[in-house]
């Protein structure tokens, strides 16, 4: 058994489904690199570590990072809801936003989504989440309601007496024809090496439209395992941008089921690995109904001794005729010591589909570097310009100008800090 699971077992006192989920997690243990879905990401170091449970009420927090994040916002410190830092003002009529801890005390139908079972042996983190998560955001939007400004979910990592393990569960549910913009922030407010385990469910009913941006800029010691499971009904549209800019180890699984005819997914992202960071993004898109589409644009950078792993899996099930699937994954290897693993996987079991996918790993174009330097730019400026341009395409996807500007600024800042002058 692993030190990590031993320590979790010592603190566990759940019942029923929670106990079942935990028993299953203990039985299988953490996945090794032999598991296909964990081939490029070793959990060996994580498995040796022990964490204390995330305490509530939470530790004092340096809140300066929140200054640029307007209301309405829910703030979680080390996975625990922090009412003092949260600000629910300006929540549109028909939009309900509550911490999970509060929902657990109310009508059980409110939290029915927690009953989801995880049957695969390598779904250990989801099982742990099912066993431990008592906090997170529960967000529901009623039929036909259009939220205007973005709504923010903030996950702050704050230094505590010892490194903390936290498990949080989110639900984002949009009813028929509803629309909303959600921005998920992950960042650290000081040096810490917490382990976060976040599971998010996204349910989009017929004709619902969700724009979902996630900016992961945790401290370099942090370990973050995140998973998003989305289900789209007929004519629903899910646009999403993921920026992976921080953490020591960050794994994100994005599983999207296009269950209703005409459902559309546009998922873009940037992986910016430097130092000894390990980023692993795994997409699993399933076209189940007819005329569904996905458009995935991902860019990866790896500098220093870092590693960026990208798996883009698209499955077009039998009967999903007329589906249109596109995946573009380009990567830049910026140093000899870095590694990029790019794996586009396309499985087609239907007829009359359009599918295109491509993945490349390259280096900075020497001719372009010379061109820029011949105009007077220094090596550092030329690199920054080329790398910035390389990352820009996925950022345009949201279409929302203010959001694009915010995302561009976040990437610029991360690049300025990471591209050596």
């Amino acid at each position: 058994m692993s030190a990590l699971l031993d320590a979790l077992a010592a603190e566990f006192h759940g019942e029923g489904a929670r106990r079942e989920a935990f028993a299953a997690a203990l039985a299988s243990g953490l996945p090794t690199k032999r598991a296909e879905r964990w081939k490029y990401t070793s959990l060996h170091a994580l498995e040796q570590r022990t964490f204390t449970p995330s305490a509530s009420p939470s530790v004092p927090v340096d809140a300066t990072g929140l200054a640029g994040i307007p209301a309405p916002r829910l703030v979680f410190v080390n996975g625990r809801f922090d009412g003092a830092l949260s600000d629910e003002r300006g929540l549109p009529e028909g939009v309900s936003l509550r911490p999970l801890a509060a929902s657990l005390e109310g009508d059980p139908r409110e939290t029915a989504f927690l009953a989801r079972r995880f049957d695969d042996t390598d779904e250990v983190f989801a099982r742990l989440n099912a066993a431990f998560a008592h906090d997170g955001a529960v967000l529901r939007v009623a039929d036909g309601v259009h939220g205007d400004g973005p709504l923010h979910l903030v996950f702050l990592g704050a230094p505590a007496a010892a490194d903390v393990a936290w498990h949080a569960r989110n639900l984002i549910e949009l009813r028929r024809g509803a629309s909303l913009t959600v921005v998920e922030h992950h960042f650290g407010t000081g040096g810490h090496a917490h382990f976060g385990n976040l599971l998010t469910h996204v349910h989009l009913a017929a004709g619902a439209r969700l724009l979902h941006a996630r900016v992961q800029h945790e401290g370099t010691g942090a370990t973050l395992i995140a998973r998003t499971d989305a289900v789209l009904a007929r004519e629903a549209e899910y646009r999403r941008v993921d920026l992976e800019l921080g953490a020591g180890l960050s794994r994100h699984e994005l599983n999207v089921r296009l269950e209703g005819g005409g459902a559309r997914l546009l998922a873009n992202g940037v992986l910016l690995a430097d130092g000894s960071r390990h980023l692993d993004t795994r997409l699993c898109v399933e076209h189940i109904a007819r005329d569904t589409s996905c458009d995935l644009v991902w860019r990866g950078l790896a500098a220093d001794r870092s590693r960026a792993v990208f798996h883009g899996g698209i499955t077009i099930r039998a009967g999903a005729d007329g589906s249109d699937a596109r995946l573009s994954n380009k990567n830049l290897l910026l140093s000899e010591g870095a590694e990029i693993d790019a794996q586009p996987v396309l499985e087609i079991h239907a007829d009359e589909v359009k599918a295109a996918h491509g993945a490349t790993v390259g280096r900075l174009d020497e001719t372009a570097m010379f061109y820029l330097r011949s105009r007077g730019l220094s090596v550092a400026d030329a690199r920054r310009l080329l790398i910035g341009a390389f990352c820009r395409e996925p950022l345009r996807a949201p279409g929302d100008a203010a959001l694009v500007t915010m995302l561009e600024a976040r990437v610029e800042a991360a690049l300025a800090a990471s591209v050596p002058a």
Binding site: L372, R373, S374, G376, D381, L385, L386, A389
Partner: protein, 288 residues
């Protein structure tokens, strides 16, 4: 305000760093040519390309370097601009008295050298104006001059567009992104106009252009001619020289200048082709 005794003081005390762009050497054209290439030998991937090239350019002059394919024309432009992978095995090149070959490409740009590329590079996602301002200000900064803010820069850029009769949609597009061949060459001339170098090297700027685009580009170059600025026009064909009138024409063959003359030399090449210079590069005829 600088007073006379300050100058004397500096002259007495300062050790002059000849390669520091902040302190340009007092430049006397009568003593130094602007560009002086002496017996330059260049090797690329183990192969000798330039084999003793000698050339001098004074401010205000337009020199045309013509030659057949493989003569070393593009190599000349690249080695002067500082591209990596070009090994100088012998000889020298100075720019206003400074050792050009010791400078990084960006230092050469700041010193006043500009290469218009034969194949301008597409840089998707980088806005043309943003790029040009970054380059312009980087050069100013390297020279110890004040940088321009975006309003000042935009004013300057619009002036240049007018002089060159270019449309201002050029400003908002990505650098050469999706440009036609003609548009790319025009963009090179536009950059040249904004950056105002002392010496502009045009590497086969006429290649791939139809006659209208060629005339357009040539008009741009002519508008930028001045007594202070020199041009080195590298070309395979004489037709560009119908529009950009050179003061001197040189024939580059097998890595050396084998013939120099006035504009009439270009016409001679047009009439007879490059075949007649073959005997000049025959081993027996080459003095080494």
């Amino acid at each position: 305000m600088r007073r006379a005794h300050d100058v004397t003081h500096r002259a007495r005390s300062a050790r002059y760093d000849f390669n520091d762009p902040r302190f340009p050497i007092p430049y006397f054209p009568a003593l130094h040519p602007m560009l002086k290439i002496d017996n330059l030998h260049v090797r690329i991937a183990g192969k000798d390309i330039l084999k003793g090239l000698t050339l001098e350019v004074q401010p205000g002059q337009v020199h045309a370097v013509m030659g057949p394919n493989g003569a070393g024309k593009s190599t000349l432009g690249y080695v002067l601009a500082g591209r990596e992978g070009y090994e100088v095995t012998q000889g020298s090149a100075t720019f206003e008295g400074r050792d050009l070959l010791a400078l990084e490409p960006e230092e050469r740009a700041a010193a006043g050298l500009f290469l218009a590329f034969q194949y301008p590079v597409e840089i998707p996602g980088v806005n043309n104006t943003y790029f040009l301002r970054a380059a312009f200000n980087a050069q100013r900064k390297a020279r110890g001059e004040a940088e321009l803010d975006s309003m000042q820069f935009l004013r300057r850029v619009r002036e240049k567009l007018q002089v060159l009769h270019l449309k201002d949609d050029l400003l908002q597009r990505g650098v050469n992104e999706g440009f036609s061949g003609g548009e790319k060459k025009r963009n090179e001339i536009f950059q040249l106009a904004v950056l105002e170098p002392k010496l502009a090297i045009l590497d086969e700027t006429d290649s791939g252009l139809d006659i209208d685009a060629l005339r357009n580009v040539a008009d741009g170059v002519n508008a930028l001619r001045s007594p202070e600025r020199a041009f080195l026009v590298v070309t395979h064909y004489q037709r560009l020289l119908d529009y950009i009138k050179p003061d001197f024409v040189h024939v580059l063959a097998d890595g050396r200048i084998v013939e120099s003359g006035g504009p009439e030399l270009a016409l001679e090449l047009e009439e007879h082709g490059y075949a007649w210079i073959k005997d000049r590069i025959a081993p027996g005829a080459v003095a080494r």
